[in-house]
Subunit: 248 residues, 2 copies
DNA sequence: CAGCGCTCGTTCACATGTTCACAAAGTCGC
DNA sequence: GCGACTTTGTGAACATGTGAACGAGCGCTG
């Protein structure tokens, strides 16, 4: 209840907010007006207590005995996430990924609009990508200022990423989504989120590798009669419990 | 040193291994034979103690007073991550993102080879994407078995993702990289990693929103003479590099 | 309008992850 | 060889995040 408490919101909670938001949108589309923490939890693939705690950080408006009002909660979350206004973004690097993101319309409905795409290759300048025309990377700083860009999306090869990030930062951008497989070195007040597909694949590979090793050693150890078939714990982290196989 | 200890490796450590791997590759390219935890930490953007602890989970392959042998460490990490052999992947959904990933060669050098791309749209079947030809999604299960696919990459629209995941799972795939903005409901032994660009953008937006709010309230509170100009703490002082966050 | 059942919000114990600090263990110069 | 110096490996404090349990408040019903 203390207003001071609401100031500090855990990172983990923040990362879940967009998921709740998505679930609530779906509920709204299904014309459901109320949602219990239990229902929301199942849809979001998390624990119900976590949902309640997450929402309580914002002084949330649930009704005991009833649940949360879908519309109301949506408004609250949308405001917290700043989805009420527009977020101009710029994409640096018009390769496969950059182009795909530029064409993809899935963000615009949440207020993220790509206002420019730049590339360093002069041969690509002028090319049409979605509704935009590729511009030269020289103009990056200029474009940032012109469109009041807030979020920079880096999809260059790793070698070019740092320079792109520096240019963005100097032009005033403080939020960067980095797809390049490099660690960017930037001032402390710049928030970087890394998305690296290769890293994700390697994490999956690690677990596969472990699984194979566990199975192999289990088979090897299976010569005594008392083998432990289910003893190899899956070591899931955030994994959903497969409690319901709602195939129907 | 106890062998039992090495069994349990924290998720967070696993997620950093690929980053270390990447840094070591770069060091190797620069002909450096030794790396201290300090150097590795700086390059990877983390704490030196964390590097040492992470690496120690796999055994002590450093030399006190000297550091880690780059080549040796690379071999160890590569083995842990299972990068010594090939990981056949399949991409479900040949939209913008799916196509971009299929064309992108950045994974193949780490053992991840895309062996097939499928799409549900008959009009797209037969189309060339990179070195592959798009096949119909009907053949998905068949292709998984044929190529012994281990990792499934879902790049379909959200509505189609669950079905794709089910098909993959029934065909024996236990590792899924999901780009679709949906929570997949799968058996507990299937490991899913979600990559959602919209979520990442919303997280950035949240922090931007907070920043703006902090600045606004600081300005509002500046009407008394004793305004605190540097009181809006973006991050605590000694932090030099940008605040870093990797996707889940 | 009182009791009852439902569900939120909060508290507490536990698990996971990070950072510090330092002894152990090695190298290098002499 | 020996002592000084460097850097690892790890135990222990600290911070963050999770999950279970439960009291408090709300609506429904008789």
């Amino acid at each position: 209840m203390s207003p001071a408490r609401r100031r500090v919101i855990p990172e983990a909670t923040i990362a879940r907010l967009p998921v709740y938001h998505r679930c609530l949108l779906q509920m709204q589309a299904e014309e459901r007006s109320k949602a219990s923490s239990e229902q929301l939890a199942e849809m979001a693939g998390v624990n119900a207590a976590k949902v309640r705690k997450d929402l309580s950080y914002f002084g949330s408006y649930g009704t005991r005995g009833v649940g949360y009002g879908v519309d109301h909660l949506l408004v609250e979350i949308r405001r917290e996430l700043g989805l009420t206004h527009d977020w101009p973004c710029v994409i640096v690097g018009a390769g496969n990924l950059g182009s795909a993101l530029a064409k993809f319309a899935g963000f615009s409905d949440r207020g993220f609009s790509v206002v420019a795409v730049v590339d360093i290759d002069p041969a690509r300048v002028g090319e049409q990508v979605g509704e935009l025309v590729i511009q030269h990377e020289e103009r990056l700083a200029e474009l940032v200022l012109e469109h009041a860009v807030v979020i920079g999306i880096i999809t260059t090869p790793p070698a070019a990423a740092q320079e792109a990030a520096d240019t963005l930062t100097q032009a005033g951008v403080r939020s960067i989504l980095n797809f390049a497989p490099t660690v960017l070195d930037l001032p402390a007040d710049v928030l970087v989120r890394d998305v690296d597909v290769a890293v994700e694949l390697q994490i999956l590979a690690f677990h596969e590798e472990r699984r194979a090793a566990a199975k192999a050693s289990a088979t090897a150890a299976a010569k005594p009669a008392t083998a432990k078939p289910a003893a190899t714990k899956p070591a899931t982290g955030k994994q959903v419990t497969a409690k319901r196989a709602t195939a129907s």
